[in-house]
């Protein structure tokens, strides 16, 4: 998932007024004097909508072909590629991995982000140092970090060394080579990379909580944990919903980490829709099938965004 996506859903969910079209048209003056905005939005609109919708349309067309991407006369096969997809166990594996990935990374990141934010709002020493450590992974490219993660989790890697050092040698493992542990490692890496975003959003949201309420709760004898679950958690709900939507789209977009760390393997254990589509479309050159999978992915991403976006708006 791209970093730019980070804020994306945040404002979709948090600022529904501007986005939902519920507000009356705004603009200075009233009546016909207002200059037309069309020429102003046209460059961005034509560029984005042109490129994106052209590509989607093109992909939709290709999805009805059996094509290797270069041959001049691709065969039209109608919906055959979609039927292949629904019968392809790897496709369902990829969906299952995406769901597990979303649930686990979202829950862990939420718990960690919330705890870090609460701890750093508690007058600890050197807050900025901790902030930097949590946030640095966000600015580092997953592609840059992939080689070291491959090394850390390899059979002779640092992770096994640490396990040995703290007396858990029995857990040592070729983490990436075994189907059952490869997916958890991919999730752990993602959590490492993205908790900084969750943290920083919760941290910002918490600055907007009325300190008097917290003070009152404390005087009434509420424990830190109770304050966190009863006061803080409900008041950052908007952020949580936004992060959930962000995580759904992020999970569907997952590519860099599984591609670079495990190549979707071993035995498809870390195959995601992104890596699957890439492998089918580029190295295997089954462009028609890849396009059909792309359209399915797009439908999933759109419905995920709509489902969470609408929920967020109702709450508001």
């Amino acid at each position: 998932m791209s970093s730019a996506g980070a804020g994306t859903t945040v404002s979709l969910a948090r600022q529904p007024d501007a986005a939902a079209g519920r507000t009356p048209p705004k603009g200075w003056g009233h009546g016909p004097r207002r200059p037309s905005g069309l020429p102003w939005i046209l460059p961005a609109f034509v560029f984005v909508v042109g490129l994106v919708y052209y590509c989607i349309g093109y992909t939709g067309y290709i999805s009805t072909l059996t094509w290797d991407g270069v041959s001049p006369n691709p065969a039209h096969v109608g919906f055959a590629n979609y039927i292949t997809a629904f019968g392809d166990p790897v496709f369902w594996d990829a969906i299952r991995h995406t769901v597990i990935f979303f649930v686990v990374t979202f829950c862990v990141q939420t718990a960690l982000g919330l705890t870090f934010a609460a701890l750093l709002h508690s007058k600890v020493k050197l807050p900025n140092l901790y902030k930097v450590i949590i946030f640095v992974p966000v600015v580092l490219a997953p592609a840059t970090m992939a080689p070291i993660f491959r090394q850390i989790f390899s059979a002779t890697g640092q992770f096994n060394t640490i396990l040995g050092d703290i007396g858990l040698g029995s857990l040592e493992h070729p983490w990436l080579a075994q189907s059952s542990t490869a997916l958890p490692v991919i999730m752990a890496i993602t959590i490492w990379e993205w908790t900084g975003v969750t943290f920083i959003l919760y941290f910002a949201a918490m600055t907007q909580i009325d300190t008097e309420i917290l003070e009152a709760a404390r005087i009434d004898g509420a424990s830190g944990l109770r304050i966190l679950t009863r006061i803080v958690w409900p008041s950052v709900r908007g952020t949580t919903i936004a992060l959930a939507m962000l995580s759904v789209i992020g999970a569907l977009k997952t590519f860099d980490v599984p591609y670079l760390v495990t190549l979707g393997g071993p035995n498809y254990a870390t195959e995601f829709l992104g890596t699957f589509i890439y492998r089918i479309s580029i190295p295997q050159a089954e462009v028609g099938y890849g396009a059909a999978l792309s359209i399915l992915l797009l439908l999933l991403a759109l419905s995920g965004a709509v489902a969470f976006g609408l929920r967020g708006m109702r709450r508001n």
Binding site: I56, V124, V139, A143, I148
Partner: protein, 262 residues
């Protein structure tokens, strides 16, 4: 948030926090350690002496700068139009753009690939720059539009009474007043463009155009038997990113929270 009036609770919180951040620090320490394994600092010298590192940096910088310029220019124009000018059916246009937010890059691969080849853009900066910009603009417009909505209409009324044209208002009022959000957008776009992997992977095929995210794979084929040099190259790419973040820490954090807070 938590009680810190007693010394004991202060220490407990500090210890919990420290233990919790250790896993975040660990990969970075392991990375530096690994890059110095075997031949020590010579790993860095060998990587640097290949001479490709600055080239990859230059490519990333050119692409990121191009994306930022396109995104900034088109976003500012569009946000002004959406927020303060008259557009019939404006929300339809807006939502058509916003739908692009959910779009995974991988969906664009095949059409972009054949189009890029047909237009002769394959293995040029543009083949990565243009789709990246198109994917970044919707969110930037969303943020900036919300920001411009917060600028009072009176300001524009007054300018209109004085006979200022829309273009003049854009230049004299919108651009200066949107600087805070512009900074956030530039940072967001920078991270997105700089860290992108899939588009360069597919569209860039020579070290004259490849970006730094492709550097580790480049060195994997170069030093297949020597993981330490690959990691050393990763450290070299990570350092400028960390420095940039440390220097502009507030901007980075504001960039990411810009959508959440008004």
């Amino acid at each position: 948030m938590f009680e810190t009036r007693r010394l004991s609770s202060k220490i407990v919180l500090q210890v919990i926090l420290t233990i919790m951040v250790l896993p975040f620090l660990f990969p970075l320490i392991a990375m530096v350690q690994e890059s110095l394994a075997g031949q020590g600092w010579d790993n860095y010298r060998v990587v640097w002496d290949t001479g490709v590192v600055p080239e990859f940096f230059r490519n990333s910088a050119i692409i990121a700068a191009g994306v930022i310029i396109i995104v900034y220019a088109l976003t500012m124009l569009a946000a002004f139009g959406f927020s303060k000018l008259h557009i019939r059916g404006r929300e339809i246009y807006f939502w058509m753009m916003l739908a692009a937010l959910t779009l995974p890059e991988v969906v664009l691969l095949t059409p972009l690939f054949s189009t890029a080849i047909r237009l002769g853009l394959y293995n040029t900066y543009f083949s990565v720059m243009l789709p990246l910009a198109a994917l970044q603009i919707p969110f930037a417009v969303l943020l900036t539009r919300n920001f411009v909505n917060g600028i009072p209409d009176d300001l524009f009324d007054a300018a209109r009474v004085d006979g200022a044209s829309a273009a003049r208002i854009f230049w004299r009022i919108i651009l200066p007043l949107t600087r805070p959000i512009a900074a956030a957008i530039i940072i967001l776009t920078l991270i997105g463009a700089w860290n992108d992997y899939l588009l360069p992977l597919v569209f860039l095929q020579s070290s004259a155009t490849e970006t730094i995210t492709l550097l580790p794979s480049y060195f994997v084929s170069e030093f297949s038997d020597d993981q330490t040099k690959v990691v050393a190259s990763a450290v070299i790419t990570a350092i400028p990113e960390i420095i940039a973040y440390l220097c502009l820490q507030r901007l980075f954090e504001r960039g990411l929270t810009a959508g959440a807070l008004k």
